[in-house]
């Protein structure tokens, strides 16, 4: 897990976010936390503490919510996020081997981020692209019909790229414009 790198929390940004949620009661909690995460890429502890004070909602409620949902992160994310589907359709078409390969290639376990913050590796219950099983999503781009060979090539390409700052992955495939 990535530790050590602590980003200064820019409080100004927080105040701007808070303004959009004023006076609407506790139901704003999830959209609020989503907005904070959209700003910082993860949920800095200081930001949650501040939000708790600002909205007078106990911190334990924030903490309970962010640990309940898979989408929230309490630690910084990698530059690239690789998400492998472990859904049923992908499972019966060999997703386990794809996941194993990614683990080996990156030296990361599911849910971990590399020390240098270059990669985060996650598995997802279903990406809703089951016709392409097994599916891997790298930075929002879908890659279908993966196998250990293909995913190895893909990961290596990005590993190289993250050193050279190349521009693969900037095509808009898989993303609506």
């Amino acid at each position: 897990m990535a530790t050590g790198i602590v980003r200064e929390v820019d409080l100004k940004a927080l105040e701007k976010i808070f303004r959009g949620f004023e006076g609407k009661g506790e139901s704003i909690l999830i959209p609020l936390v989503q907005a904070i995460q959209a700003e910082y890429g993860f949920l800095p502890k200081e930001a949650l503490v501040k939000a708790s004070h600002h909205f007078r909602i106990p911190l334990s409620r924030f903490y309970g919510v962010v640990t309940f949902y898979a989408q929230f992160y309490l630690t910084p994310r990698g530059k690239h996020t690789i998400r492998c589907c472990r859904g049923t359709a992908c499972h019966v078409r060999g997703a386990a081997k794809v996941i194993e390969t990614v683990e080996q290639e990156l030296g990361l376990k599911e849910g971990e981020t590399s020390e240098d913050l270059s990669f985060s590796f996650e598995t997802v219950a279903c990406l809703g692209a089951c016709a392409l099983a097994p599916v891997v999503v790298l930075d929002e781009r879908y890659y279908g019909q993966m196998n250990p060979e293909k995913v190895r090539v893909l990961v290596r390409q990005y590993k190289g790229a993250s050193i050279q700052e190349s521009s693969i992955g900037e095509e808009n495939n898989g993303k609506a414009d």
């Binding site: 106990p58 911190l59 903490y63 309970g64 640990t67």
Partner: protein, 226 residues
């Protein structure tokens, strides 16, 4: 007087005020239904499922937790049918496998005739009954502790594992816990909360295995914690 409804519990017709639960009505009659996550004065939660009863609807019957089941007119309920007993025993077995050291659970096992745990023992030290969380929120109007995570990794805890400003050091969470998890282990602020309580009597390991009935797991007898 509030509206009354009439229902049948274990073959006996009773009247109970609308808005009360089957558990309350049965207890009023002196019927014993085992409970763990229910506590008078706290919102019923329906988590431990020990209080299940059989509900007859025409030809069909289903099981439901009595602590959260509101009474309604014409309801027919059995609190101790064969089906109820069977399911309740397995639930207790599951509970024991997660908290083998709890005296409360062991006493219940003795009462219900559960003599063996067929599941892997995974001592989690907490049955997640939520009494402490509800106590904190409802009785103390605080939000010191809460649930963290979900699924098998769900826990009771404090935010970022530090004692939060909201905690009133009331010790209520420790006092109400049926499995003594929140019993204070002086000095360990993360486990207990305020650190002020001296109730340290927690048996965590058996010194030797004396081949008692509780220690039988899939791998045979073993001393807990070893």
């Amino acid at each position: 007087m509030a509206d009354m409804v009439e229902l049948t519990i274990d073959g006996i017709k009773v009247r109970a005020p609308k808005g009360t639960t089957v558990l309350e009505a049965a207890r009023e009659m002196g019927i014993v239904i085992p409970t763990l996550c229910y506590y008078p004065g706290l919102t019923p939660y329906g988590a431990c499922r020990l209080c299940i009863v059989e509900l007859i609807r025409g030809k069909r019957s289903s099981l439901d937790a009595s602590c959260t089941l509101p009474v309604s007119d014409g309801m027919v309920v059995f609190t101790n049918s064969e089906r109820v007993k069977k399911v309740r025993k397995v639930i207790l077995e599951l509970l024991l496998s997660t908290c083998p050291n709890s005296k409360v659970l062991q006493d219940m096992a003795a009462n219900m005739g559960v003599t063996k745990v067929r599941f892997k023992i995974k001592d989690r030290g907490c049955i997640l009954c939520g009494l402490c969380v509800r106590y904190c929120k409802e009785q103390m109007q605080s939000g010191g502790i809460g649930f963290v995570g979900r699924g098998t990794s769900r826990k009771v805890g404090t935010p970022f594992e530090m004692t939060p400003a909201e905690c009133r050091n009331c010790n209520g969470c420790e006092w109400i816990c049926p499995v003594c998890m929140r019993a204070c282990r002086a000095g360990q602020l993360v486990e207990g909360i305020c650190g002020g309580c001296l109730n340290v009597a927690v048996v965590e390991t058996c010194p030797v295995c004396v081949k008692c009935s509780e220690s039988v797991g899939p791998e045979g007898h073993r001393a807990y914690g070893k």
